[in-house]
């Protein structure tokens, strides 16, 4: 049994160490908001935060995570209050099918944590998640609006 800190809870997991964190979250913890898209860290649907930093989990073995590292999944992101990125995503109707959007939101919220005022170019190069519905124009608009809102709240 290993212990993980997921969304503020310490949970015990019985999984082989080489199991990707994605499948531990989905199949052992029932946190299916983190998605399987490619299995080779190409698409970003499986993005979560580890200590606040975006991490693609489909090739990230659970054994690489320690108990004192804080894992936040999409289910935990807005646990206390709706995250500004989620808020903006709802306002702009960014999601189409929505499948990639949980990973997208995790990637965007992590980006804004590291870089509160990203330029267009920084957003474009750092948000590399694949969306086949083609929500990109609203993703770009959403990142900028969320950044403005976060900065407004903090000033």
């Amino acid at each position: 049994m290993m212990k993980l800190n997921v969304n503020g809870n310490i949970v015990e997991v019985d999984a082989e160490g080489d199991t990707p964190l994605l499948w531990v979250l989905r199949e052992h913890l029932g946190l299916t908001g983190t998605k399987y898209g490619c299995g080779i860290a190409q698409c970003g649907s499986c993005t979560v935060h580890i200590d606040g930093v975006a991490q693609r989990t489909c090739v990230y073995p659970v054994s690489a995570v320690t108990e004192d590292q804080k894992i936040t999944t999409i289910e935990g992101l807005g646990q206390e209050e709706t995250h500004p990125v989620q808020e903006v995503w709802a306002e702009l109707d960014v999601a189409q099918c929505g499948y990639c959007q949980t990973g997208m939101i995790m990637a965007v919220s992590s980006l804004l944590e590291q870089n509160p005022n990203p330029s267009d170019d920084e957003i474009r190069t750092q948000i590399s998640n694949i969306c086949r519905c083609g929500t990109y124009p609203r993703v770009l608009e959403g990142v900028k609006l969320a950044a403005a809102r976060i900065n407004e709240n903090e000033s």
């Binding site: 946190l31 289910e75 189409q96 099918c97 590399s128 086949r132 083609g134």
Partner: protein, 730 residues
């Protein structure tokens, strides 16, 4: 009256109430709504007719309105548009609307009261707007009748607004929620008058999607997320060469691996491993020694397919799609003939949600939790595979994590049902890895096209012969509908004489014909279907002709479009939007394209630069005339998405065939567009009214040719096959 809403709706309502609250980590699997035992009576009770006004509308005592959605939502947003159509005539309060998904077994049981559930071809709205508006109007009439009866007054003396009914003479009011139970017994008038479009208050408004919130906190359960007690997970693997067979496998090599429960043959071409989790099943499948009998198709390659189709460019063919005058004769004696050959490769739908279906088979029935674009066909597939009549089957339809036409096919339903049938009483979720999904697609067909055009002394087109040589989707999906004179009707999209796919130019002599050249790789309906290839060919070649005559590409088109005012209007709109008549900034070059498809008129204009052999698409302007627009912000979202879907094949995506199998198995080799390359997009909706055109597909077709024409303007190089390669721009 107590509304007995279904799982999806309960889930939606609860997620709306408690949006983004309390979905923290919990040990133990999330359990999707599930009713044991499998019992047809349970289905009947769960949506008993007494909780509804009519098939489309349920009004709850708390004034919330549930609108039933029969078509499938896969991201395209028509779920919300369909609800708007009902709500418009219902005159309910839009803020109180939620939705419920119709199950095909229920539709069967109620004699198809919801009509066809099939969702594809950009038809969800345009194929159901009339009966949905009538459904809303009928429910409104019944609710008013109920109020009038309670008051003992004439229904005609009552009016309604946002679900509040008023008796005009007395000023008394009541609400839909208060009279809904009584309304159930009313008979709607036979002659329901629908509102004039000028009176619409909900149709045409950019309301927010009804299905957003549970996509933002991870609570929406997609097909791959289904979990239920005692469920096992299967991973299947089918012969990578289509048409090949499963020769054998060594189960003993993996039977001791963690979590593995069963290893078995599914059918002549597929093996499955069933385990406690996907990860265990996948690991075991990766380790399973399998032998395939690949058969003669293993010798096929992209090169051999291209060679076979090239022969079709000049061969005799009986299939003619569109003929005006006598293009062949004119071309024979023409003094100036322009020729060009184009080709378009296989594409994969590659929706972000890989294929999956959860099936419970028992000796009395079969139940499935899975997304599908064609619930009726999926029912038939499941019925046949399960050995149970359709009356003993049910599908819990789901919102899909992208589909783009892939789930019009039901191959994954067949495999999932056959797997579950080997484990009676145990629900089994059969999942495809991304690699398996890529290897067994229903690919955008590979085609080639040869143009021959003759120009007279004034540079007018005398004759045009468009020869398409390529794979015919219909040959695989509905072979009996291949006709003797036209062959495959799908082959001529965008080039037809009339209708939803009509050509937007007039030529004195025109011949569009098709040499069917099929291969073993199975084609399917990829978002936009053959409109995409045909628009790329036609709009590039029209540009070639303009260049030959030395005319401006827009002016050259306008001359050919005199009889096509709606096509011309959208072209003019993008010409204006891109600033065609003013000089482009230094280093920026422009191109345009237009076409009619799926009943709508679309055009695009592009601005690009090519610097040191590197292409940058700076800006795209779109114009679309869909006749009526139900939800403008969602139509815009579809146009954005169409550009992304249409630019991926232009810039990166291609499925090639090596040793009879698709070579690209994941997004590292099947590259698709990402945010980094997304140009600025400007969308003009110019609905001219009077018709209902499709939205989800047509704009895809103009994305690539607009950019290709801009590249020609930038470089003088005409790219006639995609994706663009570095050498094309050097």
């Amino acid at each position: 009256m107590k509304a007995q809403t279904k799982d999806q709706n309960d889930k939606l309502l609860s997620s709306r109430r408690g949006f983004l609250k309390g979905a923290g980590a919990t040990a133990g699997a999330f359990v999707f709504g599930f009713s044991f035992p499998l019992d047809k009576k349970a289905f009947a009770q769960s949506t008993a007719a007494s909780d509804e006004v009519n098939a489309w509308v349920v009004v709850n005592p708390d004034e919330t309105v549930l609108i039933r959605i029969a078509r499938i939502e896969m991201g395209q947003g028509s779920l919300t548009g369909l609800a708007q159509l009902v709500a418009e005539e219902l005159e309910c309060d839009w803020d109180k609307v939620s939705f419920d998904l119709v199950k095909p077994g229920k539709n069967l049981e109620r004699n198809n009261v919801w009509g066809s559930q099939a969702t594809g071809g950009s038809t969800a709205i345009r194929g159901s707007h009339e009966f949905l508006r009538r459904g809303g109007a009928a429910a409104r009439a019944m609710l008013i009748q109920a109020a009038a009866q309670q008051w003992g007054v004439e229904a005609s003396s009552c009016s309604v607004s946002k679900g509040v009914i008023t008796h005009e003479p007395s000023g008394r009011t009541t609400t839909y929620g208060q009279v809904a139970e009584l309304a159930d017994g009313m008979t709607p008038p036979e002659n329901l008058e629908l509102k004039d479009p000028s009176k619409w208050e909900i149709i045409g408004k950019p309301v927010k999607r009804l299905d957003t919130l549970d996509k933002l906190d991870g609570s929406l359960v997609y097909g791959v997320d289904v979990s239920m007690p005692n469920m096992l997970v299967a991973v299947s693997k089918t012969c990578p060469v289509h048409g090949g067979e499963l020769a054998g496998f060594d189960a003993s090599a993996v039977e001791g691996m963690a979590g593995v429960k069963h290893v078995f043959r599914v059918n002549h071409e597929t093996v499955a491993i069933v385990a406690d989790t996907f990860w265990h099943a996948k690991k075991a499948m990766d380790a399973l020694p399998v032998e395939w009998d690949e058969g003669p198709n293993a010798n096929v390659s992209s090169e051999s397919i291209a060679e076979m189709q090239r022969e079709g460019l000049s061969a005799d063919t009986p299939y003619v799609g569109h003929q005006v005058g006598n293009a062949r004769e004119v071309l024979k004696s023409a003094s100036r003939v322009i020729e060009a050959d184009y080709r378009y490769p296989f594409q994969h739908h590659a929706p972000m949600e890989p294929l999956a279906a959860t099936v419970l088979w028992t000796d009395t029935g079969c139940e499935m939790w899975a997304p599908t674009q064609r619930p009726e066909v999926a029912m038939a597939t499941m019925s046949e595979a399960s050995g149970h009549p359709q009356e003993a089957c049910e599908i819990h339809t789901m919102r899909i994590g992208g589909s783009f036409g892939r789930r019009l096919a039901t191959d994954y339903v067949n495999i999932a049902t056959l797997v579950a049938k080997q484990l009676p009483g145990t629900p089994v979720k059969t999942m495809w890895t991304r690699e398996e999904d890529m290897l067994h697609g229903r690919y955008h067909p590979v085609t080639q096209c040869r143009f021959r055009a003759s120009l007279d002394d004034q540079g007018e087109v005398e004759a045009l012969h468009v020869r398409i040589s390529g794979q015919s989707i219909t040959s695989y999906t509905y072979p009996s509908t291949i006709t003797e004179d036209r062959g495959d009707p799908v082959a001529y999209q965008g080039l037809e004489a009339e209708g939803d796919m009509a050509i937007g130019y007039t030529f004195p002599n025109l011949l569009v014909d098709h040499a069917i050249r099929n291969t073993h790789i199975r084609p399917g309906y990829w978002r936009g279907v053959n409109l995409n290839q045909n628009a790329l060919y036609m709009e590039s070649f029209i540009d070639e002709l303009a260049h030959e005559t030395g005319e401006d590409p827009v002016e050259f088109r306008r001359k050919l479009m005199k009889n096509h005012p709606k096509n011309l209007a959208v072209l003019n709109k993008v010409v204006e939007g891109i600033g065609w008549d003013t000089p482009a900034p230094e280093g920026i070059h422009r191109g345009v394209a237009q076409i009619k498809g799926f009943g709508s008129y679309v055009a695009a204009a592009a601005e690009v630069s090519v610097t040191n052999g590197k292409l940058k698409i700076h800006r795209l302007v779109a114009a679309t005339d869909t006749g009526y627009v139900v939800n403008p912000q969602q139509v815009k979202a579809q146009v954005f998405g169409s550009f992304v879907y249409g630019l991926s094949p232009l810039l990166y995506s291609e499925c090639t065939v090596e040793n009879g199998r698709i070579a690209q198995q994941n997004f590292n080799t099947y590259e698709v567009m990402r945010l980094v390359d997304m140009p600025e997009v400007e969308v003009h909706l110019v609905p001219s009214g009077g018709f209902w055109g499709g939205v989800g597909e047509p704009t895809i077709a103009v994305a690539a040719p607009a950019v290709l024409n801009a590249i020609f303007a930038a470089t003088g190089k005409r790219i006639r096959r995609i994706p663009i390669q570095e050498s094309d721009l050097a």
